[in-house]
């Protein structure tokens, strides 16, 4: 994908985000969404973030070749554990990056 196309896709991401923001306020004012939509949407964010996380951990590698991704996996696990324990991203992310770096250096 060319640089211009990449930027265009990212800007389109902004448009998609804006449409979601104005959907229930300006486009179809609806104080209450249908319960079914509410339930599915509630699952969307954890599913999407987890899938991105899985793709990032795998890095395009097939399952038998995942050993090389151990530093990233360890870093993610350390970050997740700390983020569960303590709110805020700074400390968990720094600790996770240090863990990934340490495993890589071994």
């Amino acid at each position: 994908m060319s640089g211009v196309a990449t930027v265009a896709v990212l800007l389109a991401s902004g448009v998609v985000s804006w449409l979601l923001r104005i959907a229930a306020i300006t486009l179809w004012p609806a104080p209450r969404l249908p319960a079914t939509v509410h339930r599915v949407l509630a699952h969307a964010a954890p599913a999407a973030i987890a899938a991105m996380l899985g793709a990032g951990i795998a890095g395009g590698a097939a399952v038998p070749d995942l050993a090389s991704r151990a530093p990233v996996l360890i870093g993610a696990l350390v970050t997740a554990a700390l983020a569960r324990w303590r709110r805020g991203l700074v400390l968990p992310v720094v600790a996770g990056l240090l863990a990934a770096w340490a495993i890589s250096a071994l």
């Binding site: 599913a47 991105m52 996380l53 793709a55 997740a80 996770g96």
Partner: protein, 236 residues
């Protein structure tokens, strides 16, 4: 922060702009690290720093922006990127539905442009206050707080774009995006159901990672949603 009397409420209305700025400072500090990572990650796509700063203001949602960059770096197609962004930001639909009463009596221009500042943090900031009932007061607080957060966010992303290439070789920057996603996911896993949804999506995405065009992400998201819906049905 919450007025305790009529006098306090009047004072709060008078000083709502500075009050919003005071509320924003700790929030801006909390989102800055993610902005730095996003700025640094953009060089892997690559996106020019200026363009990425514009995108940062336009998307104004860290997880979605990071996911879009990561997906593009992995060679994902347009629909995969936009679909992922839409799913990650689907919660904004819930927030906008919840805030609709606050926007109902606002001018038309604000009903179109104001929601552009809607993120987790601005939603939480306004729902935590009970002195934003009048339309003008809400508009001022929302504009000042949201505008300041956008400015801080764009600065953080811009700084990350500049500092990223200066980091020495061996810096585990490639892991940064993954690590940040893990940090954003973990606090959401408070009950068994989101854990099952996330675990399914994650494992399926790992197995499906070699699929072309970032298809593995979509397959993973779909699997997670199916598990969530099935669990909902089983509960009823």
């Amino acid at each position: 922060m919450i007025p305790t009397s009529t006098t306090d409420a009047s004072r709060s209305r008078t000083h709502r702009g500075p009050g919003a700025l005071r509320d924003v400072v700790p929030v801006a500090l909390s989102i800055a690290p993610l902005g730095l990572v996003i700025g640094a990650t953009a060089r892997h796509v690559p996106v020019p720093p200026a363009a990425n700063a514009v995108v940062a203001a336009g998307v104004f949602a860290g997880a979605a922006h990071l996911a879009a960059l990561t997906a593009l770096a992995a060679g994902a197609g347009v629909l995969t990127v936009l679909g992922t962004v839409a799913l990650i930001n689907a919660r904004l639909l819930l927030y906008s539905a919840a805030l609709e009463p606050r926007f109902r009596h606002q001018p038309t221009w604000f009903r179109w442009l104001g929601p552009a500042l809607l993120i987790d943090q601005t939603y939480l900031m306004v729902t935590a206050r009970d002195d934003l009932d009048d339309a003008a007061g809400f508009r001022r607080y929302w504009s000042v707080a949201g505008g300041a957060l956008v400015a801080a966010w764009v600065c953080a992303v811009g700084l990350g774009s500049v500092l990223g290439p200066l980091l020495p070789p061996g810096t585990p920057l490639a892991a940064a995006a993954v690590v940040v996603l893990a940090g954003m996911l973990a606090p959401r896993l408070t009950t068994a159901r989101p854990v099952a949804v996330a675990l399914t999506a994650l494992l399926v995405a790992v197995v499906a990672a070699p699929l072309p065009g970032g298809l593995g992400v979509i397959v993973g998201i779909g699997a997670g949603l199916v598990v969530g819906v099935l669990l909902d049905r089983g509960r009823r």
